[in-house]
């Protein structure tokens, strides 16, 4: 597989922070202790929909140990939201609460249990309003309105490329199905947390378990009406996020206001119940899907009408609605596409981004339906995918530009792994995916820079990499250190990382949409190349050669044709400093995606600068009497571009499979009248180490022209194909088809019963 001559890139590199995490030395937000620090807690609505008539905090304020109680009157009443022009959430409820868990008041106390006791003393008078929980009911014009406006539709996107009606007319076979997906939670091991410390007269420091320090700073700045330069956001170690820590949360704002009121630092750590019910969950969807094909499997027309159950607020709603439509076909091509997506408000916990962000749901539907079509027409599903596979150089109907694509190679590799005949009770399922390597500029309507890096060389032969990237456990710090080390010819251990602190590091958008390796990787590579240029120039004068004759590798800078002629990296840094009269040896880099102009309304535009592709096989064993499914093995072929750190990529793929496996088979937030019934780890079942299948990973390294060394994404794509691969394997083993997630034993027994009828 080794097709290059890199000394660091492409080699297996353990995470740079692995030892500190394994030994417990790593500091997470909850570990932060500051002198005089107080505990904050949030009072949450117990009704799914109610008008707030009065809030009486007098008793709570008198409780010994209580330092502050705040309500919306203490806030500026400014709405915030993931997408700025659809902001609809207040830090503390102003007039209404819209779901069980909505924030009403916050307290700061000398101890956590005192804060809890104070919450019970706050009296809220409610006028309970009619609530709506079913998105199909909520969409009805007569339904109770959750927000001001004409209806409960929080986002609607619709587009058509080609003409699907004509397409269905030309098709030899048309299939229609409706699929349903469930609400699930990210379940990061570390709950959401922050510490806010207000220093008079006007400076705020916030330590937060977040995916992006600059994004959080901007949101805080707007919500608190403070200039960004007066706010410092620092990311301690983060114990998992998966999209659930990408936004501002009301408790962040409350901690800041409580600190300002008390003059003390305030820590708020969400309980697990709060993580489950009052942060974000994955959008449940109702997916009406119609696909027309030719006899040979050529895709003629695909039409989808999707209802996303958004919960009480907008969160990432418009983006989720766009992504579900943008990835209706990719990694496949169809001649005609029609999409209509409605995101609907309901009086339930809020839905936002989660690994794969709206794509796993749509792919579950499409890949299940293609499997049904292949079976009906007697086609091999892998051949069907090969026939319609997107290729390098393609521009899709919605104008996604495919700069590199190893999808067909992924399919061929998976085909070779497929075992021919299987014994009774066993099955295999096949599915595919495509995903973004970061979003493009206009999708988030931001004006901020995208990714920056600064590298300073030190005369002891190390370099400092200064970047705003917030590693959330995925290993991006390691990848950026590897890029720096490769470019400069030094070791990963020689890279000193200064990251994710808005006062110290240059801007980076954060760990979201699988963007860091591609985007921050490019910025880092550019910064390292500048440092290298300065060093080579200095060394070239010293050795009396041209800079182009020099190579930086293995801690030395030497003449390519005469390796013995050279000096150490450390000497080169000193030399360069002397030659410039003492100027620091600094390089800086940035990355901006090309002008992309994604138009959410028309659906046209290049979603991402590069796309990953994948295919996978799930092997299952079924107990048909109990309906129990055991996933015995997953085989994955993933085109992640050049694999900078194969070890981390395997970890990401295994993580995607663990999460997808849980969401396919076990996980569901069970909600009754807006109340979550299983907000704990005994009744919300994550797969345990004993459940997760063996994973075999094959990397297909299409070298992307725009990626650093040709790299693309690997953090999210594979969860997209994991869920339908399991669904298709169950169908393959039993003949039973389940149209709704999760694929529980009970549903499987019903499906099998129906089949025999």
């Amino acid at each position: 597989m080794k097709h290059h001559n890199y000394s660091i890139i492409g080699h297996r590199q353990p995470a740079v922070d692995a030892a500190s995490k394994a030994t417990g030395q790593a500091q997470y937000t909850v570990d932060i202790q500051l002198p005089g620090m107080l505990w904050g807690k949030i009072l949450r609505s117990k009704y799914p929909h109610a008008r707030i008539l009065n809030i009486d905090t007098s008793k709570a304020e008198k409780l010994a140990g209580i330092k502050a109680v705040i309500t919306h009157k203490d806030t500026l009443g400014k709405k915030f939201g993931f997408v700025r022009n659809t902001a609809d959430q207040y830090p503390l409820a102003v007039d209404k609460v819209r779901y069980i868990g909505d924030e009403i008041a916050a307290v700061a106390a000398v101890a956590e249990d005192v804060a809890e006791e104070a919450l019970a003393l706050i009296r809220v008078d409610y006028e309970v309003l009619p609530a709506v929980f079913d998105p199909l009911e909520a969409i009805d014009p007569e339904a109770p309105l959750i927000h001001d406006g004409q209806n409960n539709i929080s986002a609607r996107l619709a587009w058509e490329f080609g003409n699907v009606e004509e397409g269905f007319g030309e098709s030899d076979f048309v299939r229609q199905d409706t699929f349903y997906t469930q609400p699930v939670n990210h379940c990061p091991l570390e709950p959401h947390a922050c510490v806010a410390s207000f220093e008079p007269p006007d400076h705020l420091t916030v330590w937060a378990s977040t995916q992006g320090v600059f994004y959080l700073r901007n949101q805080l700045s707007r919500t608190l009406d403070m200039p960004i330069s007066n706010i410092r956001v620092i990311r301690p170690q983060v114990g998992g996020a998966f999209g659930g820590k990408i936004e501002l949360f009301p408790f962040n704002v409350c901690a800041a206001i409580l600190s300002q009121k008390t003059g003390k630092p305030v820590k708020i750590v969400c309980t697990r119940e709060e993580v489950f019910t009052a942060t974000r969950c994955r959008h449940p969807m109702i997916i009406h899907l119609k696909t027309g094909v030719k006899k040979d499997g050529a895709l003629v027309a695909v039409q989808a009408r999707i209802i996303l159950d958004g919960g009480a607020y907008n969160s990432t709603g418009p983006v989720a609605t766009y992504l579900a439509g943008a990835f209706l076909c990719l990694p496949l091509k169809a001649r005609n596409i029609k999409y209509e997506g409605f995101r609907v408000y309901t009086n339930k916990p809020v839905c936002g981004a989660q690994r794969g962000h709206a794509v796993p749901q749509i792919r579950f539907a499409i890949e299940s339906q293609l499997d049904i079509i292949a079976e009906t027409l007697g086609l091999d599903p892998i051949e069907l995918h090969l026939k319609n596979a997107v290729q390098t150089g393609d521009v899709t109907l919605n104008k996604q530009v495919i700069t590199s694509c190893g999808f067909s190679e992924c399919l061929e590799k998976i085909k070779a792994q497929r075992s021919p005949a299987l014994p009774e009770g066993k099955g295999i399922g096949f599915a595919t995916c495509a995903f973004v390597s970061g979003a493009t500029y206009h999708l988030f309507f931001t004006t901020e820079a995208f990714a920056n890096a600064i590298i300073q060389a030190n005369e002891d032969g190390t370099v400092s990499l200064i970047t705003g990237v917030a590693d959330i456990g995925q290993g991006s710090d390691t990848v950026l250190a590897m890029i720096t080390a490769e470019e400069l010819g030094i070791g990963v251990k020689d890279i000193k990382l200064i990251t994710a602190d808005t006062d110290l590091t240059p801007y980076d958008w954060g760990s979201g949409s699988s963007r860091v390796t591609y985007q921050a990787g490019n910025a880092t590579k550019m910064a390292a190349a500048q440092v290298k240029k300065l060093l080579l120039e200095a060394v070239s004068h010293e050795l009396d050669v041209y800079p182009e004759e020099l190579v930086a590798r293995d801690g030395r800078i030497f003449v390519r044709d005469r390796p013995e002629k050279g000096i150490s990296f450390a000497e080169a840094v000193s030399l360069a400093q002397k030659s410039t009269g003492g100027e620091p040896i600094i390089g800086q880099g940035e990355f901006q995606p090309q002008e992309a102009k994604v138009n959410l309304q028309s659906g046209e535009g290049n979603t991402s600068p590069a796309y990953s592709f994948g295919a996978q096989l799930a092997q299952v064993e079924i107990d048909k009497e109990l309906g129990k499914v055991k996933v015995t093995k997953m085989v994955v072929a993933h085109d992640c571009g050049l694999a900078i750190n194969p070890m981390a990529i395997e970890g990401q793929i295994e993580g995607s499979i663990a999460m997808g496996h849980g969401q396919a088979l076990y996980e569901e937030l069970i909600q009754e009248k807006g109340q979550t019934l299983n907000a704990d780890f005994i009744n919300y079942r994550l797969p345990t180490a004993r459940d997760v299948p063996e994973v075999e990973t094959m990397l297909v390294e299409s070298v992307d022209p725009g990626g650093p060394y040709g790299a693309k994404e690997s953090g999210e794509g594979i969860i997209v194909s994991t869920i339908p691969a399991i669904a298709n394997a169950i169908s393959n083993a039993t003949g039973g088809r389940i149209h709704s997630l999760p694929l529980t034993p009970e549903k499987l027994l019903k499906a099998l019963e129906q089949k025999t009828k």
Binding site: L677, N683, T688, R690, E746
Partner: protein
């Protein structure tokens, strides 16, 4: 704020007296795997916490070839898993203990706690029911022996009265030519509360085909763990054959009174009882 008085008596007498004096306001602490979680969530707020772990009389497993097995209340699930007498003579108990929680929970959780917590899904209850176990209960007035079938009254409620403590479980010898098995239905392979639990003990006549005695117990499908005598009676004295097994399994399913909850619907649980009972009988009848 959660406040309580903590006691750690060193004798059973002391513990019984403390418990009785507390007049229902005390909770006994054994492994704490259920109680401490409930206390942290403010679901129970005891005024007094009586920690039993300093009482030596509540620890250990004894075996006598004549009288059988004695499992004291503080024996942990992990101890069951590694005890040679249990592995040799009562493997069903190790098998059931293996399905409880995680390694950490099995290291802390106790047999006494599992039974006295009296949840319908307690994994040790169905096996001990088919083993004809009895509870030895200690109170201020002395010892009482209670057949395990009479021990459970309702969810989270046992027959124990104020001032009474479960001291140990006595398990008689298994009948000749017998084998017992516990089958648990859960979704995950660890950290699962039973959706259905089925225990079957089968003793065969010397012909090794005819059922001499069968005992069937179910967990998680009624307000308490239950024996299903009607299903047992249908098999008693019969030659073990598939149709007899199916019949007994169907009777067991019909006598289950499951509820619909987060873990499964009543209908589904009833079906699982049928399948697992048939499997357990088939397996237990296969005596080598």
């Amino acid at each position: 704020m959660l406040t309580f008085s903590y006691y750690a008596p060193t004798s059973l007498n002391q513990a019984c007296r403390l418990l009785s004096e507390a007049q229902g306001q005390a909770r006994l602490l054994a492994g704490g795997t259920d109680l401490l979680i409930q206390m942290k969530r403010n679901l129970v707020k005891p005024q007094f916490l009586i920690d039993l772990k300093k009482i030596k009389r509540l620890k250990g497993i004894e075996y006598d070839p004549e009288k059988g097995l004695r499992i004291r209340a503080l024996v942990t699930h992990s101890e069951l898993l590694h005890n040679p007498w249990i592995l040799g003579y009562y493997p069903i108990l190790a098998q059931a203990a293996q399905t409880i929680g995680s390694v950490q929970i099995r290291n802390k959780g106790t047999v006494g706690g599992n039974l006295c917590h009296a949840v319908p899904s307690a994994d040790l209850a169905p096996p001990l029911l088919v083993l004809n176990a009895r509870a030895v209960v200690r109170g201020l007035k002395g010892k009482k022996f209670i057949p395990l079938e009479e021990f459970f009254c309702a969810p989270n409620q046992t027959i124990l009265k104020d001032g009474e403590i479960l001291q140990e479980i006595e398990v008689p010898r298994m009948p000749e030519r017998s084998k017992a098995i516990y089958l648990k239905h859960g979704i995950r392979r660890a950290m699962e509360i039973a959706i259905v639990g089925v225990a079957v003990l089968m003793a065969l006549k010397p012909d090794r085909r005819t059922c001499a005695e069968v005992r069937i117990a179910l967990g998680a499908v009624a307000p308490t763990p239950i024996r299903v005598v009607e299903a047992e009676n249908s098999l008693q004295g019969k030659i073990i054959a598939p149709e007899e097994i199916e019949k007994a399994a169907s009777i067991a399913a019909a006598h289950a009174q499951p509820i619909t909850d987060l873990r499964g619907s009543a209908e589904y649980r009833q079906e699982i009882v049928r399948v697992l009972t048939a499997r357990a009988i088939t397996h237990a009848a296969r005596i080598i």
